[in-house]
Structures are given as structure tokens and as C-alpha cells.
Amino acid sequence: SQTTSKSSASSLISAAPVTKADSPEWPSTFGFGKPATPQEIALLDIDVRPDGKGLPSGSGTVLAGKAVYAVKCAACHGKTGVEGPNNRLVSVAENEAAGTESNKEKTIGNYWPYATTLFDYIRRAMPFNAPGSLTNEEVYALTAFLLNANKIIPAEASINAETLPKVVMPAQKLFVPDDRKGGPEIR
């Protein structure tokens, strides 16, 4: 797209290329930016995948989680995770289908497809007023506590990088990928 014209005052009208996307004619590298070192990346790379990739060492028990929860979470999510004022964290009618009139609240027990998400989310975003303040041990313990409160793991379970990815969540089987495709059909 960089045709050269030597005319000094061309009067030909020729449509110029418009910028629609970047061009394969461009250099394979512009040389802007700097290499990111593994150490730099490690400082930011906090995500956790369903297969457990990203989970740190450490572990937590339901009992330990109950204690942390009472101090750092109950004020917003209620004594037992049901009362609020903020999001309900514990399913009250876990046998009812999610989203029905009688069970509108989507909770960990009836709506979360992966247990790893719980660790990841609590670590990055909770407590709401002090995000990023929990230790990995605390996050493991809170994860254990909330999974047990939702009747997904037993009271004596310990949660760590090995066990967490193996927890099968009740809602996982409900999730289907989007099947909307445009076109006349309403989905």
C-alpha cells in the first residue's frame, strides 16, 4: 500500500487504500516495547485455570476458613453466607434449578461451574474493601469453607493445588456454549 508516484501535482483521482486492519506488508517487528522477564511476569500472573495451573503452594481447611470468613467476609455476605447484604455465597435451595422463580440467587452451589474460579476470584477481588490483602493460605481456607457450606466438599476436606482442580461443581454440567449465530432465528 505504499505505491510511489513521482508526480508533483497529480490530478488523477484514485481511491487511496483505507485502514481496515494492519497490513501483511508491515515489518514483522517494529522493535517497540521490551522483553518481559519471567520474574516480572510472575509478579502479575495471578490467574488460576480449571486444570489448576496457577495455583500456589499451601492449603486450607474448612475450619480455618470459617474463622477467616467470620472476621473478613461475614459483614458483607452474612453470618452463614446467605444473609447478605452483598451477594449470597451459599445455596439455600440447592436442588432447585438455577434461575427459577423460587431460586433466583445464583450461588456457588447452584451456578459456579469450576471450583478453581473461587480461589482465583477471592484472591484477586475480595474482600471488596481490601482486595489483594489475603494470604494464599487464607484464600485456600475460605475456598474450602465456602465449598463445604455449599455441601460440595466434606467438613474435613483440605484444599490445595492438588485437590482443588478435582472438585466437581454441581453446575458444571449445566453450562453450554453460546449457540446464537445471528440470522432470523431467535435464541
Binding site: A21, D22, W112, A125, V176
Partner: protein, 389 residues
Amino acid sequence: AVVLVQTAVGKTVQAAIPEAAVIPDDPTKKQGPLPSELGTRSAYEKPVRKPSDTSSRTPLQDLYGTITPADLHYERHHGGVPTINPEEYELYIHGLVEKPMKFTLSDLKRFPAFSRICFLECSGNFRSNPAGKITPQEIAGLTSQSEWTGVLLSTLFREVGIKPNATWFLAEGSDAAVMTRSIPVKKGLQDGMIAYAQNGEAIRPEQGYPARLFLPGWEGNTSVKWLRRIEFSDAPFMTREETSKYTEPVKDGKIRQFSFDMDARSIITFPTYPVQVEKGWIEIRGIAWSGRGKITKVEVSTDAGKTWQLARLQDPVLDKAHTYFRHLWQWNGTETEIMSRAVDETGYTQPTFNQLVAARGDNKGGYHFNPITTWLIQWDGQVLNKPDK
């Protein structure tokens, strides 16, 4: 805000709030203020967003075109608006790439740039009110439009060299929610960009200053703001925002996930609650948009859906952009219902509330809910929203 005034003869069109301002009796007889560094709104005009704890809605009924002034762009965030020093800003790109890299804001601005006028919409953009006393802002104010400028993801992806097995990437913000979404690499290469400018100037803090992901036509939450990191992977990360949130119950107890595209939608923005109109010619006005391409037509009904007429579309009709529509109508003073429906270039026609419920099960509202909005014109000209049920 632009409010509605009832004059002696009942003419009620968007008009401005009068103020006890110090204005000359005759402005032709008094020299006004000299040129300045920054302009301001007229003291008579006070458009505002409608904030809640988690979002703030664009006053659609007060706007006249397709560009949303940046300070009226809708807001939705999950940990408040972070303050980021542009000198310290860095974007990391790593994971399944040949060269893990970090880019300063200046680096991003040096790459070839790209601009487009495009809407953004939160997929939770729907509200109703049983009494019908609800404005377009309250119903659908979680959509706005800007001219976005930035660098295309395809340009950056080539720079870092994405590996063949990289099918998804995680986009992570540097807000207090450290917002994360998993995005198919395909979308990034198709038309994704990192936007650092909005309507000609630096992007505003609420919209992701100094840089955000921007995915044209996709639910707003995927266009992660205050972007600090992109990690390539061979699978989605299943973050909270793509599991517990931004998914929707559909038929047979299923939950739909990764429903990225924003379905075609339209809404009449004039005349709407709380306007009172009078008999005679009324130009029905509104916006239509689709996350799947261009709007090909908007149809308007002025007889409660019995017949539909083509509205005029304001050119240019752009891809994945709010498109202004207008339809001239002579109201004879009898009670009726007016409504609009958008059609996009895939042939999708904006459905009714009941069509959506029939297609998706009894979950009313929730994400990606784009029903036709109906306005009731009462005998006295009072306009109310017709609640769906």
C-alpha cells in the same frame, strides 16, 4: 438535563432547564466572554448519567446524534475507577508467545494506529418498571458510542509471535477487581484493539484510562479496561465474570456461556416517558445497533405492532455502531402504542419480549435481553413505557 416543558399550547419537545442566570436582556448589546482554553456547557444544559452503586447510565433521551459525549458515556465497573499514572503504565503480553513483551503507553502509541466509531454495551442492559414510569436511560442506558483510537491486536500479536496452540487469551485489568475475561484469539485477530483514545482525546478514567481492550460488538465486560496483562493459553480460564456472571440461564435448565455477541436492538428515544406530546406531526427518533454488523433497517409501528413502516436511517451506517433512525408520524390523538425493531445484516430481527421468553425459557431479563421496547401514548399525550410481562 434536558427536560420537557409544557407550553401554553402544550408543545413538549426536548428543551432546557431555565435558570436564574445573570443574562443580559439583549445579548446583542453586551460583549460576551472572550475565547478561552476550555469550553463548558451552557448553564441551561445539565445532562447527567444516572448512577447506581455499580453502574451509571447514559441519558439516551437527551442525546441528539450517535456520538456520546465522553463524560456521559455509561459506566460499569466492579471495583471502582482506578487512578493510573500513564508514565508507569505497562501492558504485559505473555503465555503461549514467542517473545513475552511489555509495552509502555508511549510504545503502544508508536505502533500504527486505527480508529473506528463503535458502540459499547453492557450485556446486562435491560430494566423494566411495572408502572411504565421509566425512561430510555433507565431501560437501556448501558450503551454509548465513541470514536475509539488505538492499536490493533493483530499488530501487537504479530510483534510477540503467538504460538499455533494459542486459542484463547486472558485480558486482565488493573482495577481493584483485577477484572479478567477469556477471549478467543480469533476475535482478537479479527477486529480487537487496545484503545487509548476516545472521541479524539485520551480515553477517560471510567472508560479505562490509559488503555483498554476494545472488542467491537461484544458484551462490554469483555473489553477489559485499565488493561495490564494479556496471557495466551490453549483454553479459557473460566474466570468469575464468565461463569458466575455474564452467563444466562436458557431452556432446559442450561446456562449459556461465552455469549459474546450483542444481538441487534433498537429503542425509541423520542417520544418516551416522561414526554407529553400533542396531536399532529411527530418525528419518532431512536437508535439501533447490532454486535454482528450493520443495521440494514429499522421498522417502526405506530399501531401497537399491527403494521410496520421503514424508518429513515442516518448515514453513515457503520459496522457495529449506533445508527440513528427517524420516522415521521402524524398522531391523531387516539391512544396507541409505538415501537421499533432493528434488523441487522445477518437477517436477525429484534424480537419481542414474548419471543425471547419462548426461545430462552422463563428467565425474564438477565444478560443479552434485547426485546422490542413499546411506548404507550395516552389520549392526553402522556407517554409511558408499556411494561412487558
